[in-house]
Symmetry: C2
Subunit: 206 residues, 2 copies
């Protein structure tokens, strides 16, 4: 198994499989098939079998996939069989909404610190967190050994903060700002872009 | 050209191409190649050529793609060569952040009304909008002929609101709540799920 050899587009589908399987598990299902999973996700069963086969043999021909087993395997592959500490930067409306989002912990992530550079926000609550001053962020992230960050700052500030995060050892950044960031090659970056989703729907609308 | 025959996974990549090309256009580039586009997006050039060939002949072998032309074509294909009116439901922290998001209008969308069912929020500002009462939403959406909605309400309220939206003629819903919604087959739904992006990054982190 050579991680570097598997295209990122396949990696991008694994969290979708994990989410759908976790949903099935809450429905008390035990076994599923690539057909059923594909029907839920709008992905062909052949694609799903091919994607999963990159990582091993998870189901038997004709008997399907054991849901709990496949969830465990996907969590292991995606490294979310542990909880990642996450720094959230930005305590405006969006940052507060993210701080209050309930969907992180049972899927491998927990926010451990919220930062803002606005002196009116520092020391105030954002969800269950007390907002910390961004000026101390590099030292604090190093001390706390945080490697994942979410960026909910204005587009104009995003690159400056990203540079500090990289310096502090952050290796994965989820950026909510509508901008493109430059980071070193060994730092992963993903963007939340609502327009990508909207355009994917208007295609179907005459 | 038969829309129904093109897999949704391909449709999902077109907005990525459009965004990358729009970025190139701001860099004053005129021509690009499937190799260059692929390198920016982490998608193989063969995949890009195959995806685009579903919709016609947009570039010549050896000369590459004219960026402005390809942007126009993708806008036409995705139906964002027009501005879609959008209803935003939810004027909490997240709703306010969405109402203030600057990235919609130049990519085909404009929020025209913001709704909330909290009497303390109704009549108050959310960005440049005045929050309207959700109880009138069906009539107002019908009157305004709105067909696209963004849902930024608590997970427990999302299905009830979605049912009303569908009744009002909404045909595309972008849901920010961490839940799965049931909608009729002719209604499109997409979810903003930050964890999908986080998990796609932790895969690469030992």
């Amino acid at each position: 198994m050579c991680a570097a050899a598997i295209p990122d587009i396949i990696i991008g589908r694994l969290p979708l499989y994990l989410r759908a399987l976790s949903k099935m598990a809450t429905e008390d299902k035990e076994i599923t098939s690539s057909q059923e999973l594909g029907a839920r996700l709008g992905i062909s069963s052949a694609q799903i079998r091919k994607d999963l086969s990159q990582f091993g043999e998870f189901g038997k021909q004709g008997t399907g996939y054991n849901i709990v087993f496949l969830i465990d395997q996907l969590r292991r592959i995606l490294h979310v069989n542990q909880i990642w500490d996450v720094a959230l930067i930005g305590a405006g409306d969006l940052g507060k909404a993210i701080a209050n989002y309930g969907g992180f912990l049972n899927r491998g992530f927990q926010i451990v610190a919220v930062y803002d550079n606005d002196p009116h926000k520092v020391g105030q609550p954002a969800g269950k967190y007390i907002v910390r001053a961004t000026r101390n962020i590099v030292d604090e992230i190093i001390t706390k050994k945080i490697r994942v960050a979410m960026l909910a700052v204005p587009a104009s500030e995003a690159q400056g903060i990203a540079d500090q995060l990289v310096k502090a050892g952050i290796r994965a950044i989820l950026c909510y700002a509508p901008t493109s960031l430059k980071v070193p090659e060994d730092v992963r970056i993903q963007y939340i872009d609502p327009v990508l989703h909207l355009q994917r729907m208007t295609y179907y609308m005459p």
